[in-house]
Amino acid sequence: MTTHDRVLELAAGAIDFELTAPERRTLDDHLSGCNSCRRHVDALGADARAIADHRAVTLSLATSSAILARVIITRRTVSPVRLVAIAALLALLTLAAAAAGGAVLRWLQDDRLTFVVPSPPVLEGVSPTPSPAPATGQILFEDGGAIFTIDLASGAVTRLADGAGPSWSPDGSLIAFTRSAADPQTFDPKIWVMDPDGGNQTQLGAGWGPAWSPDGLRIAFSRSPIDLGDLFVMNADGTGILALEGGSDFDWSPDGARIATATGSGTAELGLVEADGTGRTRLAAGQYPDWSPDGTRVAFVSWSPNPSIDLVDPSTGDVSTIAAGVGAAIGVAWSPDGSRIAFTSLDTGDLFVVPMTGGDPVRVVEGVDTANAPAWSKDGAWIVFTMEANGPEPPAPDIWLVRSDGSGALPLTDSGTARGPAWRPTAP
């Protein structure tokens, strides 16, 4: 490939992607001295604009209405729950991994994670590195319209209830969730609570997407899965509903006094609302807020000028960047001790952990589909997250588990419909 070809490739790439600094230098240096390439690059830009400016055929009102009518009246049977938790295998693997001291997974040539049942390592005068403790505890998740827990020590999977969007109470003694009417023709979501074994299911009232306050006394929720820009708080028994100025992307402050919430998307604005409804302050432009465990900062994703993970001090409004150059980030989660932040990148599908002491983000899971929604174990040793298969069909998420140092990645489900994993908090 000639230098000209390479430069044109960079120029074409720069239309949609951010170039690295050396790439940008190569491009600019060459263009400053090459008229022919400059003309070619201008033409590439003009082509891109022509595609954007091209007017497409529009649908007539009659056709458009007919399509909408068919969407509304078509009765779809919801696909049956197909949970295939690899439960027994999981229990076997966590035990075997501890015994063998080896990784339970390894990278194969096609760069995809594949199960490799561990065998005792062949040791040639080398003592095995001590294995970190296996993951323990319970993970709550949603799969195909039902709520499940998986016990990591035994591998036992329990189906708790029909529903979606489960959330642990802070002491792990209750689960709040959303349940819509069984008849798919009606849409009437209600917030429910139940015991961790699925018992004592109690309906609280209409609403969507509950999240407990840190003291367990209140529940924040929104009215609809589509971001209608609404946020409510109620007592944990469903009384005292209060409307706040916010959206469905929110996080409670550790002291429960305030809620960080982003409204809008793309140019989302991050704000702080008082949980008693007395006011709202603007914090920054960004979304996916996550409070530090000590409540002194809020981590969030900023999109401008380039995607980065930023921190904002809610008392001063000062913003600093802790990770940049990793593409469009989503799914920000602070480790329980506040020393690290996990996040995922839409650009590459990678899961990263960035230390708060400074330094580059560490890639924990690499190049396998799209990771999202990371959640830490209480000891900070493990991260549970979803991985959406990249393929010809719509998103097919499954739940994975990985050590926070990147070893021992393991799928917990292979249904293609599992999401929203959360580690059960333990009573202090």
């Binding site: 849409f187 899965p225 509903i241």
Partner: protein
């Protein structure tokens, strides 16, 4: 149950939020109103066939309805709709490409196979007045979808998500597509 926060008389109480029966429909209708024309434009340009684009538009919103009714709805409905629409359009493109290859191999002339594939596409290809559309018709469905998404303001990262590839793979795909498109257009310009 945890103990409850005593409610103070100063609290601003509002009526409990209610979801009326059929509100899923309302949610989907609102999304349809907002996005169906731009999605149809995207689909029509990607599959180059108006009837097929209508079918895919319907399928895309049926899937949104399925998600909302079963309690799993996308956080960003526009991005979700584009992602599903892209996947449907690209899958269709792959199936069509297979059919055309099969027909060609078994003795059906290539141009007839192309006409079989889509009368509209053939018409578009032969319309000399629309160089850009005819150039776009000559690249693969996923590359075409990516360039049109870019034209609709999506970033490289969002496009990667929509077409189900990694960022680096999408960058390579789009780079090659843009350079190829330029070559085709330059040849067309030279002919005239």
């Amino acid at each position: 149950m945890p103990k409850l926060v005593p409610s103070s008389p100063d609290d601003t109480y509002v009526a409990p939020p209610t979801m009326r029966v059929g509100e899923a429909d309302a949610v989907v209708v609102a999304a349809y109103e907002a996005y169906h024309q731009e999605l149809f434009g995207f689909l029509q340009r990607t599959v180059r066939d108006e009837a097929a684009a209508q079918d895919l538009l319907q399928e895309t919103f049926l899937r949104l309805m399925g998600e909302v009714r079963s309690g799993r709805a996308p956080e960003n409905s526009r991005a979700w709709l584009y992602r599903v629409a892209s996947n449907l359009a690209i899958s269709r493109g792959r199936r069509r490409a297979t059919v055309v290859r099969w027909l060609t191999r078994y003795g059906v002339p290539e141009h007839q196979a192309a006409v079989e594939e889509s009368p509209e596409a053939g018409a578009v290809r032969h319309e000399a007045s629309d160089d850009l559309e005819s150039a776009l018709a000559q690249i693969s469905a996923d590359a075409r979808a990516a360039l049109i998404l870019s034209g609709q303001g999506f970033s490289g990262a969002e496009i990667a998500q929509a077409i189900g590839r990694t960022g680096p793979a999408t960058r390579t795909l789009m780079c090659r597509a843009r350079l190829r498109l330029r070559d085709i257009l330059a040849t067309q310009e030279a002919v005239r």
